[in-house]
Symmetry: C2
Subunit: 494 residues, 2 copies
């Protein structure tokens, strides 16, 4: 039976995926310094094995044959998702895939060297090669998928996301934020003039911060039987659903960055831990995509973790572990600090979407040929001026050179961050409609109902529908920026 | 070119091997408690993938074609070793391999339940099935390899080891030990009557013991750039040559067991770290086998670590880290304690070989049909009485039920332990001939020359010759029990 063959096929891919995830986590957390070369070779070889198995022509035959078999609805969805992923992986010729790997690896390596010096001149030709290649890739994907080129790229990260529906949403959001950022800053300034910011600095031993982080993770629902928390240079959430590996990094002179980072990664972890077990090795049983994933991490970080109510529960826990009695009035201004800046990853929830929309617009212009790579520093600067009133013209390191995405060939990925923020707000609003006590629950450290909603409507759905459909089924409407805008107004507005 | 195809083939297998090693280490050290089921499934699937790739019929064609190509001597050796490993892996029909996996898994699971209760009656039928299966396996391997059945089993663990050369060696050793154990015990008793044993107990925090262990590992040559030390329930040395993962376990009321365990695993680690890099992904570039591996761990534990001279260097390090001033006279009786006991893994270097020879004799009798599984409790007891004067008749848990080897279908493995001890003594004797100052070097913490000899004669040879040939090339003679016997006499005799 072809379905059974495909089940074996998925089991093989899932085992390789399991190995690659754990090897990746291990590399960041446990690997000896000199182990990198043979680790890189092993992982490249296993990735090649994965790709060869995933794109095996036999899979297409099995898919066709399986469709003719007597399948139950879950199996039909599983077959559909596997086919989607198969088409996405096979739509590029293998010589192009190899060329892409070489080109983007070279450009990423150059980026790592040139970025610290802000050396745009030597980086530009390498990025130009990537852009040329991405134009080719987008055209090829578009042809096979019957989509517009940029949509065909987004399709890899968020199936079903289309510029046609995102453009008006981002336009509305941008228009709102350009006015709202000054308003939020003015409100903040006024508050601080009445009560100046008390620095959150002190001496916070790593062990205490870790115990606090673990307590917080478990409180919001993370299952320590299926995951752990370690330290790495760049925090991430890796591993596998049955064993989610979260990492963070600590500074002993402040505790808020590590704590908020842990809450963020916990959101990713909860999604992975609560995916349906039965379909774990099929694409339909895996997390849907980047924007839904980001909606889950941002939900825990922003809807829960930066919710003033949350701190009624969290503050005593902080005091318990760190032995300092913070007041709500001193802590919240840090949790809600708004700041104009050049760097996306350092941005707060008010300014962050402007960084994303800038990249979303520019990468479409780069792909369509409306601008060329050499125009990027000016184009970037113009948009930064327009949206945040900041110039990056003399500082390419913190302008178009700041992210790894483009040099590594990831185009169509950036919108996921802000789509995640919008979806998180929309999910919260939906919860509030049926569970008006959610704030009180969170304030008392009770996350059962909020998690039950997310388990039923997001986590358990895995990849059984497209990104927009999962959102629509969960919230009863298409992506609607009004919820996020309302959320910002309530938290940061006049 | 077929050689190039085989090179790719080996690279693929090595990547899977890398993944399986790190996944295994990760499971013991870092895995979340609930991660076991999906880890087991992933590892089983990857092992299956490994086996399918390793036994691919194309490999035989490539091997034949490669032999006709113009190869340099290293390539010829590589091809020869690959063929050896290919033949060993393909000599069993795949339905038998599956049956073996099921049978031994069932019996091992039953063993884990029955052993703590010493429930021989319910365990016996499962072990009987394994024995029947191992007789079949030995016969099939013997047929393909043109070897005697038991030799064909040993061939998997130590290529070239044959009962014809081991039998007289073990007979001589056994005859010696049966008389020597009482002598060593009498010497010990006399010494202790003059100076009673001072307990090594105290309060030794894990962090200090770890720092001491790390200092000791590095002193004897372990490269921390290519390895690390963590904690696991059962100490082992895993990982890959570029990143050797050693583990130990600590008790805070004594330090010697962890320290000696670390020295033992360091011996395994040094071998792995110093294998030749160029052939790392070919069988000829990997560690030779179980007995040479054990000779390296025992060399560091016994020839170095239990050498009284070593403690001139080590004792100040212990005192530094643990803040207790031990004297040589109080410490050495612990390092050299001899004790008759039922349990192999708890045995000292004097009594240990008797445990191994007992198993070596019994497993041959089981395979040949000279005894049956049901006869084991009596046969075991008789041999324990004969060699150590201990009865296990009423205590099967600590008699024939004590080891995991037989229930899991590992027959022909036991002799490696004692062969390793003999080889380690023989290597030490060879070093002493050309480097008579070796004791003085070790006493001053200088391991360069002793390691240089091992690098040149053992580590760098990897799997370029059979086990007996590596020993012969390194020491100038075949396996000779006289060196081990002389070692025991010097350390424990009158």
């Amino acid at each position: 039976m072809s379905f059974a063959k495909l089940d074996d096929h998925c089991r093989g891919l899932s085992a390789l995926d399991h190995a690659l995830s754990i090897l990746g986590t291990d590399e960041a957390v446990n690997m000896a310094p000199g182990g990198g070369e043979s680790r890189a070779e092993a992982m490249a070889t296993l990735s090649g094995m994965y790709h060869r198995q995933a794109t095996d022509p036999k899979v297409r035959d099995w898919l066709e044959a399986a469709k003719a078999e007597d399948l139950d609805p879950e199996q039909e969805i599983a077959i559909g998702e596997l086919e989607r992923s198969y088409v996405n992986m096979t739509c590029l010729p293998s010589d192009f895939v190899e060329r892409k790997m070489r080109t983007s690896m070279k450009s990423e390596q150059l980026w790592r060297k040139a970025r610290p010096k802000g050396d745009w001149t030597s980086f530009q030709p390498a990025l130009e090669e990537v852009v040329t290649m991405m134009r080719e890739e987008a055209a090829m994907r578009a042809e096979v998928l019957g989509l517009a080129p940029y949509d065909a790229l987004m399709e890899q990260f968020d199936p079903g996301n289309r510029t046609a529906s995102i453009n008006p949403v981002f336009a509305e959001l941008k228009a709102f934020l350009v006015d709202f950022v000054p308003e939020a800053l003015a409100v903040q300034e006024e508050n601080l003039s009445r009560r100046p910011l008390k620095p959150l600095s002190g001496d916070y031993p790593v062990e205490r911060q870790k115990a606090l982080g673990l307590a917080m993770m478990q409180a919001v629902g993370f299952d320590m039987n299926h995951g752990s928390l370690s330290v790495s240079d760049h925090p991430f959430c890796g591993g596998v659903p049955s064993d989610v590996r979260m990492t963070t990094r600590y500074r002993t002179d402040e505790f808020l960055p590590a704590l908020m980072g842990i809450l963020h990664e916990t959101g990713h972890g909860l999604y992975e831990q609560n995916l349906p077990k039965d379909w774990a090795h099929w694409p339909s049983g895996k997390a849907r995509g980047m924007s839904i994933h980001e909606s889950q991490s941002l939900f825990v970080e922003k809807q829960i973790g930066r919710n003033p109510t949350f701190w009624r529960f969290a503050l005593p826990l902080v005091d318990d572990h760190l032995k300092e009695a913070w007041t709500m009035e001193d802590l919240l201004p840090h949790v809600h600090q708004v700041k104009r800046g050049k760097i996306r990853v350092d941005a707060d929830e008010v300014t962050y979407p402007l960084h994303v929309i800038l990249r979303y617009e520019l990468e479409q212009e780069l792909l369509s040929g409306a601008i060329e790579t050499k125009d990027l520093p000016e184009a970037w600067d113009a948009k930064m001026q327009e949206s945040l009133g900041i110039s990056t013209l003399d500082d390419p390191q913190n302008g178009p050179m700041q992210d790894v995405h483009w040099p590594s060939g990831a185009f169509g990925y950036f919108p996921s961050y802000t789509l995640g923020a919008l979806m998180a707000a929309q999910q919260w609003a939906t919860i509030l409609k049926t569970n008006p006590d959610v704030d009180a629950q969170i304030g008392s450290g009770d996350f059962d109902q909020v998690n039950a909603w997310r388990r039923d409507n997001i986590w358990s759905k895995a990849s059984t529908a497209s990104t927009p459909d999962i959102l629509r089924n969960a919230t009863g409407e298409a992506l609607n920026p009004a919820w996020f805008i309302a959320h910002l107004k309530a938290r940061y507005g006049k």
